[in-house]
């Protein structure tokens, strides 16, 4: 049996307890671990063997539950998907996710994101509902591919931590929530785009985005929120032209939903 190479890992972790601390400070931990470990493994070893008072969230250890987002050397990352071997020979600085209030140590309060996700109505909206006994709504593989990528969002909020616009303007609905609106807008079973536009096509919505693209760079699920927002800007612009410049024009949202409803009888 071959042995795994061991490496030295030095962590510099931001600590803050609102019960006792007036301000946050860094704490240093030094350990040795197999090079295949992720930063989360190192944090778990610290908690089990060195300092039980260190607090962070985690669960799946396979980059799908979205619990363990943190700033690692200044970049938003899932700690279960950040390998210590990539930081060998350096100090790994671990901080709570940027742009969210700290509850304690590496635990941030996601309340703002949770509220914004709800505001975009991320669920199928239909004018007519058919009973289950009539079977599925038909959806071709091509129709599925129009939105599938955008349905992969794990709600880890790394894109909010990366987004300079969200950092400056906290009212911005933000990449993940807007992408979820786009995911449902693009779903052939949905008729809710007009309703979502009230939130999406505003200055808190897509028009706040300055297309820096940082959201897509950090996304661990390859959702590419930046492309979703760009597509939404284009369709929202077309809506405006139809409504304002074409005599008797109706909003594209209405038109699209009728077309789609027709698609799937």
């Amino acid at each position: 049996m071959t042995q795994l190479k061991q490496i030295r890992v030095q962590l510099e972790v931001l600590r803050y307890n609102p019960d006792t601390d007036t301000e946050a400070h860094f704490q240093h931990y030094d350990l040795t671990c197999p090079e295949e470990w992720v930063v989360l493994d190192a944090l778990n070893k610290v908690k089990a063997d060195i300092d039980p008072t260190l607090n962070f969230r985690w669960s799946c250890h396979m980059a799908v539950c979205g619990s363990c987002g943190m700033m690692i050397n200044g970049e938003p990352k899932l700690s279960c998907h950040s390998f210590v071997r990539d930081y060998e020979g350096t100090v790994i600085r671990v901080e709570p996710l940027a742009h969210f209030p700290i509850e304690r140590d590496l635990v941030t309060a996601p309340d703002d994101f949770m509220e914004k996700l709800k505001r975009v109505k991320p669920y199928i909206i239909r004018k007519d509902k058919k009973p289950i006994s009539e079977g599925e709504y038909k959806q071709t593989p091509a129709q599925l591919m129009k939105f599938r990528q955008y349905s992969m969002c794990i709600n880890c909020m790394l894109c909010y931590a990366a987004c300079p616009e969200y950092g400056l303007t906290p009212d911005f609905i933000g990449p993940a929530a807007l992408t979820m609106a786009h995911r449902y807008n693009q779903d052939s079973r949905d008729c809710g785009r007009a309703e979502r536009q009230e939130v999406v096509a505003t200055h808190e919505g897509v028009w706040e985005c300055t297309f820096v693209g940082a959201c897509s760079e950090v996304c661990p699920a390859h959702v590419d929120p930046a492309s979703a927002l760009q597509q939404m800007k284009i369709t929202s612009s077309i809506d405006w032209i139809v409504e304002h410049l074409i005599p008797g024009g109706k909003s594209a949202g209405d038109t699209v939903s009728r077309e789609k409803a027709g698609d799937i009888k």
Partner: protein
């Protein structure tokens, strides 16, 4: 202590809890629903399920075939009235999810696609690539956001059920952010708290799978049923234990030993089928218990591949080709590349069996009701006796939908004509939780370390209650877990803060796991036969005369629990031979 008065409390906001919440809100919009979870709903472990969900939908399939596969797969320990109800509800629930937007894979004509899965005679597993559980969870969570009557209490750690007048009428829970204890008073309580796989050291389960819901019901007097049946998934990544879905084999991946032999043919699952042309219900599409046990035997024979993480066999998917792998198994490719640095397009990946699922749980009937009036349970935390001694892959994602909904309907039925609650009695019961938590904070002089105790528990479960078990090993395990439960009372909390104190939560979780672990190992010792996932080297045969019955484990405080038995419900399929020999009859 603040009191939250509501109609129904749901503990757990994964697949089963969310499905229950939506069913309650849809059935009666005036109901007040409190949905409590120790994590935000989308962190729930349903998200890690990969392969898919079984429901009869195609014209070549039938309810009878799904019934036979499930009952045989469960080695005749399933309650057949439950299976009957389940198979008929399954397609309705999967269609309901489709109507709610679940991105199921499709056929060219736009109908829902199905894939083959282990132990199933027909293709009937609906799937969303290899992220089926993830999409089910997010579809349910997002759908739930439209119902104003579902009030979520995210990151509340539920502690003790409030039972008075013989009825369950609420629960106490800690708000994790503030450390404040709250009590919830309700007419019905539904537990949907998930499994307890983290009692083992090598598990596909996320950190949150610590059996809190099971333990809570157990301490309140509900028996835990069939806990000795612990499912090992055959294909775990050898280092992290991450799940490589059964769909790897459903799509055509093969298992080979160090000599390149497809060894499953040597364990009653042959003859060999052509590579890349998987045949249903044989070879690599055998049931999980048989496949995991075969790997164990290959390791004993010296046919395994040595790796830094122990003895493994190889899962070979190279013949599927890059395009097909990326379409059907993108997560598997990514997991192997990231955590093991193996590209499955180019190389076979070493795997070993890994603890995956508890067939056992809180004893419930087909109405999702526990023996305690007012208390219902669904999902992995419950044992409704669908899965018997071995769950078939892709039945559990449907189980949490079918019985999540059923629990909601039963909760509503239970509410009708209830006498008024005795608030003073409930308050007094809640006060006992307060005392329990205060004692944890004020305890001094202990010498036990929590992480040390947790490791001893995990090592004991792996050594003494693994894939194959013996009288001697189980005796030793029972003594050890019993000892650990006594020592647990001497563990000292290092962190005394009120705010998001994960030292405290891990301590509480360890208590839950120890209670559940004792039920597993005591049940395993008492069951002197081999059936499904419970295999004894000293009692190698199934014994239908003595053990065609469910193990019921009853909590006795710090004493060893009491065990009795409940008959299996057989309606039309008498116990028979499990045949996975394909065409070779």
């Amino acid at each position: 202590m603040d009191t939250i008065s509501t109609d129904v409390v749901i503990i757990g906001a994964g697949g089963a809890g969310l499905r229950a919440a939506i069913a309650l809100a849809e059935t009666d919009p005036t109901l007040r629903i409190a949905l409590i979870s120790k994590v935000y709903p989308m962190r729930s472990h349903t998200c890690a399920a990969e392969g898919g969900a079984a429901g009869v939908i195609k014209s070549d399939d039938s309810f009878d075939l799904h019934f036979d596969d499930t009952v045989g797969g469960g080695d005749w320990l399933s309650d057949q009235d439950c299976v009957e109800y389940f198979i008929h509800e399954a397609p309705k629930e999967l269609l309901q999810l489709e109507h709610w937007g679940c991105p199921w894979n499709r056929e060219a004509d736009g109908s829902v696609a199905v894939r083959p899965f282990g132990g199933m005679k027909k293709k009937r597993t609906w799937f969303a690539a290899d992220k089926s559980g993830f999409h089910i969870l997010h579809t349910l969570f997002q759908t739930s956001l439209q119902f104003p009557s579902i009030i979520r209490y995210d990151e509340y750690y539920a502690l003790d059920l409030l039972v008075d007048d013989g009825r369950c009428q609420g629960v106490t829970a800690l708000e994790m952010r503030s450390g404040e204890l709250r009590q919830f008073h309700a007419k019905s309580v539904i537990i949907a708290g998930g499994g307890a796989g983290r009692m083992f050291p090598f598990s596909t389960n996320g950190a949150i799978k610590t059996g809190d819901g099971m333990a809570m019901a157990y301490r309140a007097g509900a028996p835990l049923k069939d806990m000795e049946f612990v499912q090992y998934h055959p294909t775990g990544l050898p280092n992290t234990g991450s799940l490589l879905t059964e769909a790897c084999r459903g799509e055509g991946g093969i298992l080979v030993n160090k000599n390149g032999r497809r060894f499953l043919q040597d364990y009653g699952m042959g003859p060999e089928t052509p590579v890349g042309k998987p045949q249903l219900k044989t070879m690599e599409l055998g049931p999980r218990d048989r496949v995991s046990q075969s790997i164990w035997h290959e390791i004993q024979k010296g046919n395994a591949v040595s790796t830094p993480w122990g003895e493994c066999v190889l899962l070979d998917m190279r013949h599927l080709g890059e395009k097909y792998i990326d379409e059907r198994l993108p997560l598997v490719r990514e997991l192997c590349a990231s955590y093991l640095q193996v590209d499955i397009v180019k190389d076979p990946v070493p795997i070993r069996p890994v603890v995956h699922y508890m067939m056992g749980g809180i004893s419930t009937n087909t109405k999702a009701a526990t023996p305690i009036p007012g208390l219902f349970a669904a999902g992995e935390c419950a044992c409704v006796s669908l899965n018997g001694a071995n769950r078939l892959g892709s039945n559990s994602l449907v189980e949490l939908l079918v019985f999540g909904r059923r629990a909601a309907l039963s909760a509503i039925e239970h509410m009708q004509g209830l006498p008024a609650a005795n608030t003073a009695a409930l308050n007094a019961r809640a006060e006992q939780t307060q005392v329990r938590i205060r004692e944890l904070f004020s305890r001094t002089g202990g010498t036990e370390s929590m992480s040390g105790l947790r490791k001893e528990m995990m090592d004991t479960m792996e050594k003494n209650a693994g894939i194959y078990r013996t009288e001697e090993g189980l005796q030793e395990g029972v003594s050890k877990i019993h000892e650990l439960r006594q020592r647990y009372g001497k563990v000292i909390l290092t962190d005394k803060s009120n705010v998001f104190n994960t030292d405290l939560f891990q301590m509480l979780e360890l208590g839950s796991m120890l209670d559940c672990a004792e039920a597993v190992i005591v049940g395993a010792l008492a069951r002197k036969e081999s059936r499904g996932a419970h295999q004894r080297l000293d009692y190698v045969d199934r014994d239908d005369k003595k053990f065609l019955c469910h193990t019921m484990v009853h909590y006795q405080g710090l004493d060893v629990p009491r065990v009795d038995y409940l008959d299996v419900v057989i309606t039309k399929s008498p116990p028979g031979v499990r045949d996975y020999s394909g065409d070779h009859k």
